[in-house]
């Protein structure tokens, strides 16, 4: 214990891997590494870092960060087919940060923060500037302890064009206390992880209550990595999975610094009668929980329990399907969304978002946050929201129009979704012509529009108990739950790719010359007419050229000039 130990600061590490088979036969693996540190990073001058990485700790202390969430993602989570994700992130890089109220210049701190994170994670986060940062008012409420929510302390930016690769994984792994040498992190090998449909690595830092009485604040760092392995690309068409098949490694031991190290496998029966999945070796225990409105059963392998490695030195969890998958059994998630661009030509277009509420009898509201870059000029008077053929007026709209080259559009709406309905939100835009230096190196590839964010409290069918963060698995305590009847979900839509009209890049000098020629034509004609007057022409005696021409004409026998 540390209660009587004076200034000793306790920190603990828990690591966890969740394997969930998805309805389409793919497998999702979610790693979570949670370091909790009972220190006050803001006030005390902390110099001794043990499990908490020093780079992040100093960042939080120096820049007055209250909450930090950074996600680097490749691919898109198909909510419609894979179900509700435990924690979704948009394609590309996403960074949202709550600053402490003591920070005076939030924009400066934001710029410094994005540059430092860009260095730590080898990602181009330094491209985050005022043209892609917004200040949401209703979405992205703090996930940790919060004293008051002045939304001017929040910044949110998305870089949809950002690509995730091994260079980003390596510094991420370096932040783990055991590195990639022991525990669950040995499975994180880049050549298998990037050979997947969806790869998302994230870092979440937030303050949490130290204990139930919440008298003191601890800092929690969660590093999550979610991977979806595809049946066809990684599984060679067969739907049997094993740790070795997915990661080309097996688990040999737990991280010695971890207080808890577990592997959870989702073996929930789909029809309440028979089990779908068979796992070998037999699990150390079975855990039941209500997660995202569904009762789920998990097979648990506790890497710290001595009985696990008795029979073999390594743990290779194998999943076999007991009976073939029936595609009609695919459960449809309660809330899912889709977004696309409509229209033709390079002048105008339309962004359409479809939100589906498949709950049979409950209606619930959803907050939609759209960030559109300034060069797609949105016309808010064309915003229409149609549900079941009738117009649906949002109960809260916050619209901040873009300023050219300074600020993107921000549209936040609270829309009520009736039960069992599809809501279509359309807004028209016009495409701007940019200066030739503002186009990316491949201008005809198009410009990316970041995903829109849907945040909702989805009503759950089964009542959920309040979770005790310390006792329950990590994947159940990501989002704070307010009451037992609904769970919080944050969904992202697809990013969009939009083409803009391009000028001819080979022509700057020609254009300047031609336009100046036209102006000179005007200037020349007017100069002539303004400064000269009419005179009767005096016959000239003939200059040299005329005399020469006359000589030649005489030789030819042609009349003289």
């Amino acid at each position: 214990g540390g209660s009587g130990a004076g200034r000793e600061r306790r920190d603990e590490l828990r690591e966890e891997l969740l394997l969930s088979p998805l309805p389409t036969g793919d497998v999702a693996a979610t790693f979570q590494f949670r370091t909790r540190w009972d220190a006050d990073l803001q006030r005390g001058a902390v110099s001794h870092y043990r499990l908490f990485p020093k780079a992040l700790g100093r960042l939080v202390a120096a820049l007055g960060v209250r909450e930090l969430h950074l996600a680097l993602t490749q691919g898109f989570w198909r909510t419609r087919f894979w179900g509700q994700p435990p924690l979704q992130a948009p394609a590309g890089a996403e960074l949202w940060v709550w600053f402490q109220p003591t920070v005076t210049d939030v924009d400066k701190a934001w710029k410094e923060l994005s540059n430092i994170l860009s260095g730590i994670f080898c990602a181009s986060l330094n491209f985050i500037d005022s043209t892609n940062t917004v200040i949401p008012t209703a979405s992205f409420k703090p996930l940790g302890l919060a004293n008051g929510t002045d939304h001017h302390l929040l910044r949110y930016a998305v870089l949809p064009r950002e690509v995730v690769c091994t260079e980003n994984l390596t510094p991420w792994k370096k932040l783990l206390p055991c590195g990639s040498k022991a525990g669950l992190a040995v499975l994180l090998k880049a050549e298998r992880l990037f050979h997947s449909s969806y790869h998302s690595q994230a870092v979440h830092i937030r303050p949490v209550c130290r204990d139930a009485s919440c008298m003191a604040v601890s800092w929690e760092l969660r590093q999550t990595l979610a991977v979806v392995f595809d049946v066809f690309s990684s599984g060679q068409g067969k739907k049997d999975w094993s740790l070795f098949k997915m990661f080309s490694r097996t688990l040999t031991d737990a991280c010695p610094l971890a207080s808890q190290s577990k592997v959870y496998v989702d073996i929930s029966p789909k029809n309440k009668e028979k089990e779908l999945l068979e796992v070998t070796p037999p699990p150390t225990s079975v855990h039941e929980a209500v997660v995202q409105g569904d009762k789920k059963t998990y097979a648990v392998y506790d890497l710290l329990s001595p009985s696990l490695f008795n029979t073999s030195r390594s743990l290779n969890v194998q999943l076999k399907w007991k009976r073939p998958q029936d595609s009609s059994e695919m459960p449809i998630p309660v809330l899912h969304a889709q977004r696309y661009v409509g229209g033709y030509g390079l002048q105008t277009g339309e962004i359409c978002t479809l939100i589906y509420n498949t709950h049979p009898y409950r209606a619930f509201p959803v907050i939609l946050l759209e960030t559109v870059p300034w060069y797609l000029r949105l016309y808010v008077h064309t915003l229409t929201i149609i549900t079941k053929g009738k117009e649906n007026k949002p109960s809260y709209i916050h619209y901040q129009p873009a300023q050219d080259r300074r600020r993107p559009h921000l549209l936040e709406m609270l829309i009520q979704l009736p039960a069992n309905s599809v809501t279509k939100i359309t807004i028209q835009f016009e495409r701007a012509l940019l200066k030739w230096t503002e186009y990316p190196p491949d201008p005809n590839h198009g410009f990316y529009v970041g995903s829109s964010v849907l945040s909702a409290l989805v009503p759950s069918v089964i009542a959920m108990k309040d979770v005790d963060v310390e006792q329950s698995p990590l994947f159940t305590s990501l989002f704070p739950s307010s009451d037992g009847s609904s769970y919080f979900v944050r969904l992202y839509t697809e990013p969009l790719l939009v083409n803009l009209p391009t000028p001819d890049f080979s022509m700057p000098y020609n254009v300047i010359c031609l336009t100046c020629t036209v102006v000179a034509v005007c200037y020349g004609s007017f100069y002539n007419l303004l400064t000269r007057t009419f005179h009767v022409e005096e016959p000239s005696r003939g200059g040299l050229a005329k005399r020469l021409a006359n000589v030649i004409r005489k030789l030819r026998g042609v009349p003289l000039l």
Partner: protein, 392 residues
């Protein structure tokens, strides 16, 4: 404008974004008239035509009177009878002007597109009417309104002043006290009305946001949406280093011809006004075909110059062809994707050169006619042979 009204309804300042660049008075005008928008634009066009009709009618009387005076004073050479304008040929000119404006395909297109250019044209037409009728106060008020809408009618201050001075029979000499007195009067009327209108706009929306959004926008040209002018592609392909320099050069180019034209055309202020309006519609930062329609409406007034125009056939062909090619090449670039922005840019260049040459042709013809009026139509050289006239 619809977007500005929608933003106002949402409680956001219409100028906080980059889409709305009209003045607050327009917002308030359309707040009440938005349902009858088509009717409003049609009525505006009709009002413009009526104002032009009345203005040209009055102007014809003035021209005729002046002509009579100069003939009696023997200022004209003896053999210029065929150059003198007769009431018979001047009778239908006001009607022609009104029809030129109403039936011009450019004004029809502006009306259908519901462009606020029609309102600008209407204000300028009323300004011309007030000036020709001689009312300094109304002329100053309308000029202030026109300048408030888009900055460039400021240059029309000089021709209006010259016309009013002529009408009051005040000689234009820099040393004359009455000249300065009248100029000060007119200038103060104009500035006061401008200040009143700007303050009224401030009180309508309770902020000075509209000044950078309207005037800053006109002067700094941030939006590069293709239009029929020369600026957009120029600034799209500009090296960032020079963009401020070239913005200043292009803006000065509009205002720069006023003083030289005033010196040359001080006896003919209405022609000066015509040339100035043409220069504004060619070189303004966001020209539209409605601006072109306005100065083209005046061409029948100078129809007596027809015999001195040198390139009128080619220029009218150029203008007509360009007008047809504009939508074709726009479609090819933006929708079909088989053409390039250069195609549309080329037509822009040709169209503007056509307009420039048209104006300078009329200017040339005007000056030539004036020369013939004072020096006689049949010019002979010292040795009696027929002479040629050159510009030296």
């Amino acid at each position: 404008v619809v977007e500005g009204l929608a933003l106002l309804d949402l409680g956001v300042s219409p100028y906080s974004g980059a889409i709305f660049h009209e003045t607050p008075l327009i917002i308030y005008l359309f707040h009440f008239l938005i349902e009858y928008a088509e009717l409003v634009f049609m009525i505006t066009d009709v009002l413009t035509a009526v104002a032009l009709y009345l203005a040209i009618q009055d102007f014809n009387k003035v021209v005729f009177k002046k002509q009579k005076l100069l003939i009696e004073l023997d200022k004209y050479a003896p053999d210029v009878a065929e150059l003198i304008q007769t009431p018979m040929e001047m009778h239908y000119i006001p009607l022609k002007v009104a029809l030129f404006y109403l039936l011009n395909p450019y004004s029809v297109m502006s009306c259908v597109a519901k462009s606020t250019c029609a309102i600008n044209n209407s204000v300028i037409a009323f300004f011309i009417l007030a000036t020709i009728k001689g009312s300094a106060f109304l002329s100053a008020v309308f000029l202030a309104l026109a300048t408030y809408q888009s900055l460039y009618p400021l240059t029309l201050f000089a021709p209006a002043l010259l016309y009013l001075l002529q009408r009051q029979f005040i000689p234009i000499k820099l040393k004359s006290k009455s000249f300065w007195l009248y100029t000060m009067q007119y200038a103060s009327l104009y500035l006061c009305s401008l200040i009143v209108i700007i303050c009224l706009s401030f009180f309508l929306l309770n902020s000075w946001d509209f000044i950078p959004a309207v005037y800053g926008f006109i002067l700094s040209v941030p939006d590069l949406t293709p239009n029929i002018g020369l600026f957009w592609y120029f600034f799209a392909e500009m090296f960032e280093h020079f963009s401020l320099f070239f913005v200043c050069v292009f803006q000065i180019n509009v205002f720069f011809y006023t003083i030289p034209l005033a010196i040359k055309l001080k006896e003919h202020p209405v022609f000066f006004m015509f040339v100035q309006m043409a220069i504004i519609s060619i070189f303004k930062s966001y020209p539209t075909v409605g601006d072109v329609a306005l100065y083209m409406a005046f061409l029948p007034v100078w129809s007596h110059l027809y015999r001195f125009l040198r390139n009128i056939f080619i220029l009218s062909c150029v203008l007509i062809f360009c007008s047809f090619l504009f939508p074709v090449l726009w479609h090819l670039w933006i929708y079909a994707g088989s053409a390039n922005s250069n195609f549309y840019y080329a037509i822009t260049l040709t169209f503007n050169i056509g307009q420039i040459l048209l104006i300078s042709d009329y200017f040339y013809a005007f000056l030539r006619r004036e020369y013939y009026l004072t020096h006689g139509l049949h010019l002979t050289r010292q040795d009696g042979t027929e002479a040629m006239l050159v510009l030296k």
